[in-house]
């Protein structure tokens, strides 16, 4: 239990403000990186003329979305319709709190940090369902149904993969998990848990609804999936929360498998950010490289491969820890 003193409260407020800044800045930077990377992969310059080398492009887009008409179609459940984008954006804020960005740079030191993250990341899925349901649109509803089954499916191997690392370090506290790892790459958890790392890497793409697993918003089948009816800021909030979720799973991945804020020569938050953004660039890279999978393929990958593999991995970890 943590004490709720004034200092603690102030720390959480400051952390929340910093995290909002991080989320917004991350979205702006990632939109630019994504469009540039897409251009690079497709052999074209990408955004180039708006600002020096197109750097202001993402700012222009967000300001345009701010000035766009907010359109509420007839027959929507307007309360839920308004609530869904807000519910997509704000819970992510909470999820960043237990992440150890540096040795002393943590929003809130909780013993069950990873439990908090896994539990509250479900709210993001609820917001997708609400968006699809309340917009009274068949594509929205289909996208929402897909979002649910995909999130439920991919959460399980993800938790199994994280659980094997938790077995290894014997704690749910994210800071302590980092403390158990060393500064050099061969002391990180990825060396003793390569399979868990791979499973986590696949399921984080499924968890954040990114291509090739972007079935909830599959453009060619479902117009735009659950956010079909959202214009202007509603859409922008969904966009923002997608990038924030990507950043969150990248941070968790860096914490669990890649030694968190520890790195060669000098530990510090820079290593955390370098690792997280390398994973983000990796996610962008697969998005523009692979075509979208079919829905049965998506679930087959999960139930037939990732889940048995992660269970075997967990078993082997447990047996080795017990008897070796």
């Amino acid at each position: 239990m943590m004490d709720l003193s004034i200092a603690n409260f102030a720390q959480i407020i400051v952390a929340c403000l910093l995290i909002i800044g991080l989320m917004v800045g991350n979205a702006v930077v990632m939109v630019y990186i994504e469009r540039k990377a897409c251009g690079f992969i497709q052999r074209r310059p990408g955004p180039y003329e708006v600002g020096p080398r197109g750097t202001i492009q993402a700012v222009c887009d967000s300001m345009k979305l701010l000035g766009k008409q907010i359109f509420i179609p007839g027959n929507v459940d307007w309360l839920l319709f308004f609530l869904a984008p807000i519910l997509a954006f704000f819970p992510v804020l909470l999820l960043f709190l237990p992440i150890p960005f540096g040795k002393f740079l943590t929003g809130m030191r909780v013993d069950e940090g990873i439990l908090l993250i896994l539990a509250f990341s479900g709210i993001g899925v609820i917001s997708n369902i609400l968006a699809g349901w309340s917009s009274n649109n068949k594509y929205g509803l289909l996208g929402a149904a897909r979002a649910v089954s995909q999130a439920v499916a991919y959460e399980i191997p993800m938790i199994m993969a994280l659980l094997s690392v938790i077995f290894l370090s014997g704690t749910l506290n994210l800071s302590e998990i980092v403390e158990r790892q060393g500064s050099w790459p061969w002391q990180w958890n990825i060396v003793c848990q390569p399979l868990a790392f791979f499973i986590y890497l696949v399921s984080l793409v499924g968890e954040t609804n990114r291509a090739p697993f972007d079935l909830p918003e599959a453009e060619s089948e479902l117009t735009a999936g659950f956010h079909t009816e959202y214009s202007g800021m509603g859409f922008a909030l969904f966009f923002l929360s997608e990038y924030a979720n990507m950043l969150l799973v990248s941070f968790v991945c860096a914490t669990f498998f890649l030694g968190g804020y520890k790195g060669p020569f000098l530990d510090g938050f820079w290593w955390m950010f370098i690792k997280a953004y390398l994973i983000m660039v990796f996610i962008v890279w697969i998005r523009w490289t692979f075509p979208r999978v079919r829905f049965d393929q998506l679930l087959n990958i999960n139930w037939k491969w990732l889940l048995p593999l992660s269970i075997i991995n967990l078993w082997v970890t447990a047996v080795v820890l017990r008897f070796v």
């Binding site: 990408g46 345009k64 766009k68 735009a224 859409f235």
Partner: protein, 191 residues
Amino acid sequence: MAAPDRAVSEGPGPITRAEVLPPLVNLRPLNWFFDVNRAMSLWPVTFGLACCAIEMMAVSMSRFDIARFGAEVFRPSIRQADLMMVTGTVSRKMAPALVRLYEQMPAPKFVMACGNCAISGGPFKFEGQYGIVEGVDRLVPVDVYVPGCPPRPEAILEGVFAIQEKILGVRVWPRPKEMPSQPASPKATKA
């Protein structure tokens, strides 16, 4: 459910008009700021009707790359788009769907008529034809006409610049050398 589709009348029928209200906060610098942002990120709809759509695809690919000007985000949902490129022949069958799409687009919206078919019916305009709407401006208000059959990708890019010019009042990008100068002003024609 959406309202039933209106029948497309013969000849220039009632045009769907966007209702334009003055902005709530009418400050010049603020309007200018938002106008610049609107001009710099015109997101088109993923929407093509005929062969001009192939040129629209070409303009977003590596040789011409509309992404340089921030207009490569082809939104599949009309609610998130700003620009409707009517690329190709509008058949009478397609017309209600097109009108409905236009009506579903949120407010700062622009329409570009790409190619001769969308401008006037093009090669399909002859006496006794019954299947083609002769010009998309009979259905929805058009901002920019891009001639060609089909227009070159450069022409579509030029159309995007023309919409940006329409939003901002000035041309943003330098004018190419070969292009004829601005349409002559009344003064110039007299002289």
